[in-house]
Amino acid sequence: MENGKVRIGFYALTSCYGCQLQFAMMDEILQLLPRAEIVCWFMVERDSYEDEPVDIAFIEGSVSTEEEVELVKRIRENAKIVVAVGSCAAHGGVQSWEKDKPIEELWKAVYGNATVKFRPKPAKPVEEYIKVDYRIYGCPPEKKDFLYALGTFLVGSWPEDIDYPVCVECRINGHPCILIEKGEPCLGPVTRAGCDARCPGFGIACIGCRGAIGYDVAWFDSLARTFKEKGLTKEEILERMKIFNAHNPKLEEMVDKVFQEVKE
């Protein structure tokens, strides 16, 4: 920190720019300004420097090109704290939904036989390439997620991950249960809370945009069993759970287990 100002970089990889937009749209950002120096943030600052040292580097987006692999490595070298922001940076994002399809096949479906001079790669979370210190979850993250993380950093502390599911907030709000009462495939039980159960509040089943709860307490298997009882096939269950969790190492194994039980 120089002159008591915290040096901040906000970097974008392949994404929708929604995390930055959410960050920029916080009214509180004006209160933060006197305490911060924006070193790199192309969405708002023309005088941005990608390769300068920063105290906190926020990275949005999945790593999806060779150039982005190099960029995240440089950011890591220059930053004291690296924060993966949003579902793309933390989990690979919706563009990872078909992560097992070869990229050549995806390319062909969209671009045909044409080529461009940049090199695309399958979408991956930032952590596949560099060490990430903290994560801010959500698609997009809530404004309060940014405030909490920044607030903790500014007082020399760090943000803790939420370790309970959307269901907790849903119950507190008293919304009717989408899974039990409406019978729809709500992902609330395996998804990290913090959104105040927004979608169930609108009568909409959770699609898991904040990603699976960490600390290995996302019980994909229990939920898969419930979905199965409601008539969903294994493929349907995996498809839905993979929208925001395609890179989760436990997912397939846990869902498999439920379907193997039947055969025995």
């Binding site: 749209m25 300004l33 941005s48 999945s62 045909g112 940049f118 698609c139 979608c199």
Partner: protein
Amino acid sequence: MSNVYLPITVDHIARVEGKGGVEIVVGDDGVKEVRLNIIEGPRFFEAITVGKKLEEALAVYPRICSFCSAAHKLTAVEAAEKAMGFAPREEIQTLREVLYIGDMIESHVLHLYLLVLPDYLGYSNPLKMVDEYKKEIGIALDLKNLGSWMMDELGSRAIHQENVVLGGFGKLPGKNTLELMKRRLREALPKTEYTFELFSKLEQYGEVEGPITHLAVKPRGDVYGIYGDYISASDGTEFPSEGYKEHIKEFVVEHSFAKHSHYHRKPFMVGAISRVVNHADKLYGRAKELYESHKDLLRPTNPFANNLAQALELVYFTERAIDLIDEALAKWPIRPRDEVEIKDGFGVSTTEAPRGILVYALEVKDGRVAYADIITPTAFNLAMMEEHVRMMAEKHYNDDPERLKLLAEMVVRAYDPCISCSVHVARL
């Protein structure tokens, strides 16, 4: 022998949505080549949603873009509903338009104040304007918050709305909320007019003056608006939305992950100015008066007019939303949703997103997406944008490179490009 010098490049254009750069190649006889490099990685939205359940694909499409996620959601849902032969009730359609207007207001305000204005006032970053331009920043925040709040109430949130579903909405706000929305819109009107006055004073660079073909969705019901089933061109032609492929050809260029498009073999423009050029006769209220008194600035021949056209639309859509809410309130109480029978079929929806025509073509089979084609306004604009940057470069390649870079960026920013949208979401 003629020399070619090192290109003048901006690797990463600041204050636009997404990641793109400009490269201007200059030789002894002037500008040789201008390229807009679109370097943001591909996300293959069409390829990854094919074969997926319709509802899940519809939850993923808005993630193409944050600045216009509601536009993506609403257009995708309409294409899917058309494919299944379903038309929403009139009042549902009305409220969907109010939601769309929330997106329009927020997006235009962010573009004008956050991305465009700093260039004109000599700042690199809008946040630095806070002390000197308190009033302007205050207005920007108020209007932005209004647009976001409209999306919160009708769409569930300002980015990546989940509340729009096949057949209607998950849940509708109460009557009181809609009354409050009207009041807040009415209070915002003077601020939108102030914005229009402010932007009417900004320079529109003569370097890029010249004929432009404009394309815009022809609004339904002859009232200036967002939804339509025909596309009109400023050359006087008109064609049904379903026939977009016969008139607009897409092709891959090697310096861009986003495809370029031609209309009848030529670059063209879409966006607020294109809507104004093609459909100003369908404006009404205060916006109509402002259009009449500022016609010369809202002209079809300069891309910088797009900034002022967005400001005009802020006035228009704020008034329009009030009328639409009145129409909805007249039918209160409103059931939020009708059942949509899942059927096989093909549907095309064309709407006016904040940045221009957005096309969704979806084929549904057994409740799943069998085919998807999405074309975004920025993909339509890229070829024309490159032309205009070239025109600017031809006049300034001998100037200080920093000056040229800024002017080139300003041309790009006038288009309000949304690079995340443009990348790879088109299919051959």
